[in-house]
Structure formats: C-alpha cells, structure tokens
C-alpha cells in the first residue's frame, strides 16, 4: 500500500534525519568541523552532557511526531495501520529502535540530574560526579535493553 510506504518513509526520514541535523548543528556551534576557523571549545563533561541532551531531545521529539502520524493511520482501517507498523518489526529497523531507547533513557536521566541542580544549587559544586553517576545509571539501564533488542534483531536477520 502506497500510503503505508509513505508513512514508513516519513518516520524513517524524521528519526534518522533530524538526529543527524541536530548533531551537525551542535557540532558546528562548538566549531568541531575542519572547515571552520578555530578549534572546538574544550568544555568539560557538562558541555558534552548539554550537547547530548539537545541531540537526544530533538531525536525523541522527531520520532514522536512520526509515531503520531503512523498511529493516525489507524483511523483509516487496520490494513493501513498493520502495514505501517510492520516497519518496526523489520530486523534492520531494530538498531534505530535501540538508538531511540538510548535517546529516551539518556534524556530522562540527564533531565533528572539537571533538576537536582535546579532545586539544590549546592549540588552544582559536584557536577562532574553527578554527570558520571548519570552516565553509569544510563549504562545500567540501557546496555541490557540494547543487548536483548540487538540479539533478537540478529536472530531475525539473514545472518541469524
């Protein structure tokens, strides 16, 4: 069905494209690119946490938008909806789902870290420690999920 393919395409382009664009914009802002005059600002873990927060935020919003569009398809009958949703069952789409999980988990934990500083300003003195705790929490929550998701993707793939 053409409509289903179009919606699938939209979800795909939004998710991958916006993440890429967000990353490029931020990298440009920090002057990492070789074409720019000057060197990247060598901020610490706080700066890079902020960059990652922005990139994952845009990624999640873009996917959410695509997801609203594909759910909207349910109003046109189960055939269209089922065919659209089948995109998420494809083995090659799993890595993107893993990226989505990473984005959501990172954004959530980093958001909690920032909220801590908002309400208890003295914690800002230990910002590097909190950034490391947040990264550790992210790894604990994300890595097992990524393992199981990628394992099932591998089993379904031609390699499996």
């Amino acid at each position: 069905m053409l409509a289903a393919k179009l919606i699938e395409g939209l979800v795909f382009v939004l998710t991958v494209g916006s993440g890429l664009v967000a990353t490029l914009l931020l990298v440009d802002l920090l002057r990492v690119g070789k074409g720019r005059q000057g060197v990247a600002y060598k901020g610490g873990i706080g700066q890079w946490s902020w960059v990652a927060h922005r990139v994952t935020g845009i990624l999640v919003v873009a996917f959410l938008f695509g997801h609203i569009v594909d759910t909207f398809g349910v109003g046109f009958g189960p055939e269209l909806y089922d065919e659209t949703i089948s995109l998420y069952q494809q083995w090659w789409f799993k890595p993107f789902e893993v990226a989505l999980v990473a984005a959501v988990v990172y954004h959530a934990f980093n958001g909690l870290r920032i909220i801590l500083f908002d309400f208890w300003p003295h914690l800002a003195l230990k910002q590097k420690l909190f950034a490391k705790i947040q990264l550790a929490a992210f790894a604990i929550a994300f890595l097992p999920a990524a393992f199981f998701m990628l394992r099932s993707a591998l089993e379904e793939s031609p390699l499996g």
Partner: protein, 234 residues
C-alpha cells in the same frame, strides 16, 4: 625555550574572514602567555591587536580562547600550555580586530540587572552605617570577586547562539546584590532575570564555572538566583 603560537588574526580592512598565522618567540617557561603576545607585537608584527591593562589578572581585559578554553592571557603560564599554542578571540561577540571584540552586548546584559546598591529612597543619607553580620556578608562573598572579563559569558554555548541572553556574568553580579542584606532591589532584579533572556536561559553546561579566572562558582550562583526567582512567585 621556543614558543610556537598560532594566532587567529582578523583585520576587517584587509581580511574577508579570520585566518591563523604562526609565530615563534623565545620565552621562559615561567613567563605568561601575555608576555609572548607582547613579544609578537613588539618584535615581529606590530599590527597585532589585543587588550590588556594591569597584566596581573585583576582588570579582566585579556580574556581569550587559548587551546580551546577561555583564560586570561596574563594568568596562564607558558609551561602549562601545550604547543603550538592556539589563541583565538573570545566567542559570541563580534571581532573588531584580532583579539579585540565588541564588548557592548556583554555590558548591556550587565547593566540590565542593575548592578548597584538599591536602597529605600528615604534612606539616601542614613544617620549610621548599614550594619551587616559576617553570615550576611558570606552569603554573597563568592560573587563579589567578578572582574567582568567575560570569560564565563563567552564560554556559554547559549550565549554563542543568542547575544540577547544576559549571560553568566550579569547573573553573578545580580546575585551579588540580590543576596546582600542591605539591598532592597532584589524583586526588581528577579523580575528582569525571570524574563525570556534571563536566568532561566541557563542550561547548566558548566562552561562558565570552569572558565572563571577568579574561581567563582558561577553555575551555583545562577542556580541560586533561579531558585529564589521561582520561590518568589509562591
């Protein structure tokens, strides 16, 4: 020892865009970067433009991006820098020539927060001094140390993309008066800092705290201002 410098030069009269030029000077490892820049200017290329005044980390004139981070050229020792030393003007403000930037947007943010003592009009000439306890004074001790060098504000990624943001230095100076027990202008300042370009634009990237040559806990001060601005509304 030989000191290799990569300086980001820009002269609006001749250059369409900034470009790097390399210089080599002789210096003692215990000399400061400002000494090397002076050697370039005095001995190799007199067209190099930079600001400095006291040369001892007090006036705050010579903030620059050195090897990717904001420092005062007069405070950083040659032995602590990896060579070749890359020097660029501070970011987020338009470059007038070489390391001289237009500081007006920075000072506009500073003035916007009314960085002076505001007291009750009727108390203009008080009969006695305004007494303050040690604890009351300690409340804002950290933020009295600001020298307005703009190292914090021009290290802020939010300020790079939005000159209208008052910036960390302005909030630090607002903090200095908001938490001063003698001052009565706290509400006025919090009103200004609660607006779109005020304290809430801070995204806690902590570049300001790491860049401050005076060691001010800038992000902590900003967070304290945000918090008091928030709780004021309840």
């Amino acid at each position: 020892m030989n000191v290799d410098l990569n300086l980001l030069r820009y002269n609006p009269e001749f250059d369409s865009r900034p470009h790097f030029e390399s210089y080599r000077v002789q210096a003692d490892p215990m000399e400061r970067l400002l000494d090397c820049l002076h050697k370039v200017k005095w001995e190799l290329d007199s067209s190099l433009a930079l600001r400095f005044s006291c040369a001892h980390g007090v006036c705050g004139s010579d903030a620059m991006v050195v090897n990717g981070v904001n420092v005062l050229a007069c405070k950083v020792l040659i032995k602590d820098l990896k060579q070749p030393i890359t020097v660029e003007p501070i970011r987020g403000l338009s470059v007038l020539k070489d390391f001289i930037v237009d500081m007006e947007p920075f000072f506009a943010g500073y003035k916007a927060v009314k960085p002076w003592l505001i007291v009750d009009e009727s108390e203009h000439e008080p009969a006695r001094e305004r007494i303050q306890s040690q604890e009351e004074r300690d409340r804002f001790e950290d933020t009295t140390k600001c020298i307005l060098c703009a190292a914090c504000t021009t290290a802020c990624p939010i300020f790079w993309s939005d000159e209208e943001y008052v910036g960390p230095a302005a909030i630090v100076n607002a903090h200095r008066f908001i938490f001063d027990s003698r001052d009565t202008g706290g509400d006025e300042r919090l009103e200004i800092l609660s607006q779109r370009d005020g304290a809430y634009k801070c995204r806690t990237a902590f570049n300001c705290t790491e860049a401050c040559p005076r060691g001010i806990k800038v992000t902590k001060a900003i967070q304290e201002v945000k918090r008091v601005a928030l709780y004021r509304s309840f």
